[in-house]
Symmetry: C2
Subunit: 292 residues, 2 copies
Amino acid sequence: MRDFSQDHRWLSINTATVRKQQGAEVPLARIIDQCAQRGIRAISPWRDQVATAGLDATARQLRAHGMALSGYCRGGFYPAADAAGLRAALDDNRRAIDEAKTLDAACLVLVVGALPGALDGTPHYTDLARARGEVFDGIAASLDYARQVGMPLAIEPLHPMQAADRACINTLEQALDICDVLDAQKTGALGVALDVYHVWWDPKLAQQIARAGRERLLAYHVCDWRLPTRDLLSDRGMMGDGVIELKKIRQWVEAAGFAGYAEVEIFSALDWWQRTGEETLDTCIARHRTVV
Amino acid sequence: MRDFSQDHRWLSINTATVRKQQGAEVPLARIIDQCAQRGIRAISPWRDQVATAGLDATARQLRAHGMALSGYCRGGFYPAADAAGLRAALDDNRRAIDEAKTLDAACLVLVVGALPGALDGTPHYTDLARARGEVFDGIAASLDYARQVGMPLAIEPLHPMQAADRACINTLEQALDICDVLDAQKTGALGVALDVYHVWWDPKLAQQIARAGRERLLAYHVCDWRLPTRDLLSDRGMMGDGVIELKKIRQWVEAAGFAGYAEVEIFSALDWWQRTGEETLDTCIARHRTVV
């Protein structure tokens, strides 16, 4: 396993971690500068942040800093109430792939979606198998385009507590089953984004990480599981402040061949988003060296 | 599939559903009377409620009403910080088995426990594999005694969002793997309590229910998954108020051979526990007939 204790060259910051600082939304350009000042070599920004900052301006800023993208957040959200909605989702994913390419991202992360309308509290249907079928078809369609462009797609299995509203792919095994059908040759065009927050509990985690292998492990996200967890979405912990066995999981991931960034993604409305970006980033660096 | 629309003979009430009425704790004896008045033929009470009411008094009251126990809540919580704690847990489970026998319960439900101390926010260790090993050993020891007494043990897989603090058995597949080792002959001594709240999201649910079969399906619990879910423990919905495909899952369960009670278990600090017990129970009956 790589030694992270001497530097933070394999640290990436998902910009959601510092998108709010002292309770207020912060422009992406400032986040990029804050990371660059600390020698952070990679980030993973969100589409809405990039849209606000401007795609070309962001690409220029990243190039100026020599900063890489460990991933681009995010495509997906395929299921829809009707055929027009399904088509709109495919078009939107095509745009996301183009943006990821412009930014030279390592992969486009797919949060695949679930029951359409559920995020607003009014699902158009509750047939989970239908949603999963629409997700499968959506990934297949996006993959056709992503292959042409040369942008790897990384399916992110989300925690089962988000199965209704955010993603109906909820285990690594389920994600890999899809990869095996759509990219049987393991070309690297389709794989997974493994976020410890979503999968740490899985009794088959070690087995499925080994199954995934280097070709399928496209991104690795870290944070921690707090006790108690006060919110299903935005109460993630800083690495080391919870119960996830980070070193054990990284060992499995690296044994399977992963050699990329450990990307910190912390949604924390009650804690880290209330602090300064400087404190959050400095803590990420310190924890990267000690507990990741 | 059985027709539930004409009566509620297969309705059971887990007493947690009405343990608080209009915000206040209610004695078990009153809950039993409220159920009996409505022709509810079965309940599943909690150990602390029985302890307060008195074991023998509760047994007498149940007999007087001809009321069955679809299960007894609960044994488990095996992992511990040290050897003394592990022994204490085994002793406590032995007492739970005895109580279940006195009350003539269909099974003792096992919420197996997870990282010891995590419920209080200070886990003694974070080694999930160790906790799972202690759970396995604990179930094995309890099973020896339960077989002698003739009390079936029902492992309840809990939602992965409770993997740190309440139960480190988190999928039906994982529970059945344990059953297959400890009760390979499918004697009925060891099985599962399947609560839709914990497992509805599982892509392997139908497959694993079929695998479980009649011998392993010892209890079936219903409620619903609310949108949004505001709390990880106590924000369950009334059947029909969420997104769980209740009829589809019951069809799978009955196709596998289950023919027992549909037990309503709703923890609802913000909603149903604020209402009268009468309203909650009448709603359970109505929903049992229409959406379960």
